[in-house]
Every structure is written in structure tokens, then in C-alpha cells.
Symmetry: C2
Subunit: 291 residues, 2 copies
DNA sequence: ACAATTAACGGACTCTAGTCAGAGAAATTC
DNA sequence: GAATTTCTCTGACTAGAGTCCGTTAATTGT
């Protein structure tokens, strides 16, 4: 009777009406949607035209004309890329910068109005949105290198430590010094830090550091609870193992705790085997894999 | 850093791209969105043009031309309303009926594809969608009369009984005979049944039945968990009290259980006071109010 | 060095949505 | 019964989004 399809349609109607208004926030700035979208996508450092086209999925001609329009308004300047002068790079002028800020704030205000309506249930609404977006983007998760000091990486690692606190007996809360003091160990060429992105939301992390010339240690594997059950853990592990191989390591190790049963099962199913302890508590299981 | 606004934007992007595809399911039928939307809104029994205009929020001229287009395709017939010949009523032809079915099935398939991606988390995704839609429609909840035997009313009452089972000690599961045998007692002129709608999703119910000529009993107040904390309970109670007054009752009663603390608090804060028992277990608190 | 490829551009065009004003028919009001 | 209102229809118009294609300039491959 009240089947899922009907609910999806209701959801669709409501969301396109309410949040879709965010898209049309171009209103009141005297500029059509297309131009506004282009303007908002131009980054501070300049964005090349091909990137814009890819992100907005626009025809070359159309984008070209939109850019001309923005140039005429004095908001954007397009110049050849010195590296490849066929390519062109769009940059915001000071006026464009200002206009960009206005759009950003308008969007901000609209969004806040949406959340205001959620009252005491803001967190629940945000979680619901994240769940939906993450499920829909399931096939589009990208794994990219990150600096271990990035906001995104820190966000993930902090969530990871919180998880350990809640799950692993004997993991003291004092163990959360942010920013982390040992970030340097997770940078190339000895280490690595990979973050999984669902659009611009980081939903997973894994890190690598050097134990000795032949051996790397995999650390801090964390998957956002919203993104579990989609094989992301395996993707991250394979990516970090490949990275370790690329960096010249022949062996990998990790320490963990049996309270993290899911993770242990993942390691085992992917060729990791138990090995003798090489660290202390709160770890109570140690594993190794030949790369 | 990863603030709520950014998440909302991500959500917005993803949803308009993915589910927005539902709207564009007109694709492949060789008919623009506007015409497809009109076609899908024409009901079997015929829909008058003003109703279509209101639902789609279209200009008279535009809708008129869309209807002409559908007539030219042989999908719709527009004729004067015999009751008021200025009005006109649009009806589906057999061909239109068939085309309508095609759209319905295409939409169905698209929706199913969305849910398929959720894998084992379908229910969580549906709940998340309902929560978001309900929060956004918060100010647009409509309370309407319902027949106690309607699907919507039964859906709510069943959920209510499930809640009682889970919450009230001594409430036996055997107490859920659906369809309910005593529906007649909740119909006019002696009783009533009000359902709260959020778009086309029923999210709350309250009923009224006769105790004696002067006294009515309020029964089965239920609010969907998704819609709590928005004052809907109070709105429903006030509506049913007003209805009782209109039906000529001067007093109202209800029985409840102290396990339902939130409900009891609502009653108290709205002028209900405890009264002597007039029913037995599982009720353990009885309240009355002069209307 | 020359051909093929790639990137962006700009003009001509189409389609859809939407606005506005006026006309005509039916119903309502005075 | 005349004036006013209500409802729909039509035609003229605008704007935005998008497609197609030929051109130009730079780069790459052989």
C-alpha cells in the first residue's frame, strides 16, 4: 500500500522543490543558472576550461559562451595555460571573487533555513542526507592521496580514534592528540595516507608507514559507518598494499584488536595471516602479508 | 571544516542528479517534461483543468497549449464540465491510458534501480528519505477526516498497536485484529477519525468515539516517529477536541498508560486532568477534559 | 617537416518553458 | 437585462539551455 516507490517519489518531489531552490539561488543576482554554476566552480587558483566542462557536463560551445558572458561582466578572465597553450584557464577577477562570495553566502543562508526547520533533529537529518548521498554515490567513490595533516585526513583519523575508544577495551581516551605529532611518518617517500572520497565527503582512510627497509606497516583503516558493507574496506586495503609495493616494500604488517572483528575478517580474507607480536597493548592481534 | 552546509550541498547535487532522473523519465517517450507531467496527473475519472494548473503551478496559457499538444497526439480529450461549462475536464483516451501506464512503469523501474543500489540497507535508506521529506514538509502537514477503514488509517493504527506492544507492559500482541472490528464506532455522527498527512504519507492519527451523550473518548493518538518533536501531537489533539465539540459533546476522556510518558505530558500541558478509572488494564491512567 | 589530433571558440539553429495581453463564452451579481 | 466576473484559449513574445559544425591555433606523432 505505502510502498517504497511512493515514498521515493514523495522524497523526490519534496527535495527537488525545497533543496532544488539551492540551485536556483542564482535568483536575485541577475544571472542565469548556467553562468552562476560556472562562476561557482571557478577556484581561487584558476580552473581549466576542460575541468569545468567535465564537472558541469557542458558542450564546448555552450561553456565557451557562458565564459564570454562572465568575462563581459568582468567577473572572470580566461587566459592560455602556459604549459599547453591550447588549454585555457579561467580565473576570478577581484569582482568575480566578490560575486563568488555572495553566491556562497546565499547558498549558506538557504541551507541554514533548511536545517533550521529540522529543529532538534538536525543531526538525524544530516545523517540521513549523508546516508542517501553515500548510497547513491556508491559506485563513484574515489581513493586519492592526502596529506596526513589535511582536514579530511584528520577528520577520518579522529573518527577512527573515537571508534577505537568505543570498541577496544583498554584504549584510553588520552590517545587523541590532534593534530597528530607523527604526521611526517605517513608522507612519501617512506609512507602514505589514502583518503576515500564520496564527492567531497571523506568517508574512509588508511595509512602506511615504514617499519624497516623491507617492511611497511598499515595503520588507521577506517570506513565511515554510512559507507560500510560496500566493499570499500577491501578497496582501501588493496590500494595501500599496491602503494607499499610501489614504494619498494616487500612485506607489510599491521596490529589490531580482536574487538574489531569485521576488520580482522577482512584482513584474513585478503591474504593476511597472523604473525608474532611486534607492538604492545591495546593491540592483541598482529598480522603480516607478503606483497 | 566538514560542516553541515557542505553535506547539504553534496546531498543536493547527488539527489538532483540521481533522483532527478525520475523527472526526466519522460526521456525516450519523445515528449517534453511539461507534457509528460500533465499526462501523468490526469486521473482515470478525468481531472479539471484548474486542478492541473494548481498542482503543477502553470500559467493558463502554457497548460492550455500542453493540453492541445496531448490532444493532437490523441492521448487526452478535453471537454466542458457539464456542471459549469466554463470549466473544462481533461480525460485520458485509451491510447492516453496506455501511455500513462508506460510512464508509471518507467518511473517504477527507475525507482527500483535506486533502491537496488542500497543493497542490505534499503530500509535505512527509505527511513532516511522519509525523515528528510517529513522535516521539510513540517509546515505543510494537513489534518483531514478519514474513514477508519482506509488504508491510511489502518496503517497508522497498526503502527500504533505495534508501538503499544513494544512500550506498554502487559499489552498482548493478540490485540491486533486488522481490519478492526469496531470501525463503525469511529464514524460520524458519533465518532471521528483524523489522519495527518505529509504530502501523501500518513504520519499521524487520532480517533474519537462515543461514551455517552455528553462524553466522547479520544483513542489511538499516534505520531510517526519521524514526525515527532514538531507539535503535531498537539495539533491532532486540538483538532479532535474541536471535532468532539462540533459533534455536541461537552466532555472528553481518554485512557492511557504511564509508560507513554510523552503523550501523558502532552495531555497535561493541554488541560487534561486525571480522573477515576473507567476502563481496565493495560490502561493505568485516565484523564478528562471539559471541552 | 608535415599530417593528424586536440582544445577552445563562435555562429546558426532548435526546443522548451514561461510571460503577457486580448478574445470569447459562461456564470454571477446587481 | 446589463454589467461584471470567472475560466479557458490563442497568439506574440522572450530567455535559457543545448546541439551542430566549421574555424583557428597549438601540440603530438612519424
Amino acid at each position: 500500500m505505502l510502498d517504497a516507490i511512493a515514498r521515493l517519489r514523495r522524497f523526490n518531489r519534496v527535495v527537488t522543490r525545497e533543496i532544488g531552490a539551492l540551485d536556483t539561488s542564482y535568483l536575485g543576482r541577475g544571472r542565469p543558472l548556467g553562468a552562476a554554476r560556472v562562476l561557482q566552480l571557478v577556484k581561487a587558483g584558476g580552473t581549466d576550461v576542460a575541468e569545468l566542462r567535465r564537472r558541469l557536463d557542458l558542450d564546448t560551445g555552450l561553456l565557451s559562451r557562458l565564459l564570454r558572458g562572465l568575462e563581459r561582466e568582468g567577473l572572470v578572465e580566461v587566459a592560455a595555460d602556459p604549459a599547453d597553450r591550447r588549454r585555457r584557464i579561467a580565473r576570478l577577477t577581484p569582482a568575480g571573487e566578490a560575486e563568488w562570495q555572495v553566491y556562497d553566502q546565499l547558498g549558506h543562508a538557504k541551507a541554514q533555513a533548511v536545517f533550521a526547520r529540522a529543529g532538534s533533529r538536525q543531526q538525524a537529518v544530516i545523517d540521513a542526507m549523508d546516508l542517501i548521498a553515500t548510497v547513491m554515490l556508491k559506485d563513484q567513490v574515489e581513493i586519492r592521496d592526502a596529506d596526513p595533516d589535511d582536514d579530511a585526513a584528520l577528520h577520518c583519523v579522529a573518527a577512527y580514534y573515537r571508534l577505537l575508544q568505543d570498541t577496544v577495551p583498554g584504549f584510553a581516551s588520552g590517545m587523541l592528540p590532534l593534530p597528530l605529532p607523527d604526521a611526517a611518518r605517513y608522507r612519501a617517500p617512506a609512507g602514505a595516507c589514502l583518503v576515500a572520497w564520496s564527492e567531497d565527503l571523506p568517508i574512509g582512510v588508511v595509512s602506511l608507514r615504514r617499519l624497516d627497509t623491507a617492511t611497511a606497516e598499515v595503520k588507521r583503516l577506517w570506513i565511515d559507518p554510512l559507507a560500510r558493507g560496500q566493499g570499500l574496506g577491501r578497496r582501501l586495503m588493496r590500494a595501500i598494499e599496491a602503494r607499499a609495493r610501489d614504494l619498494g616494500y616487500s612485506h607489510a604488517r599491521l596490529d589490531s584488536n580482536t574487538a574489531l572483528a569485521e576488520a580482522i575478517a577482512l584482513y584474513r580474507s585478503d591474504g593476511w595471516t597472523e604473525c608474532p607480536p611486534y607492538t604492545g597493548a591495546p593491540a592483541n592481534i598482529w598480522m603480516a602479508k607478503r606483497l
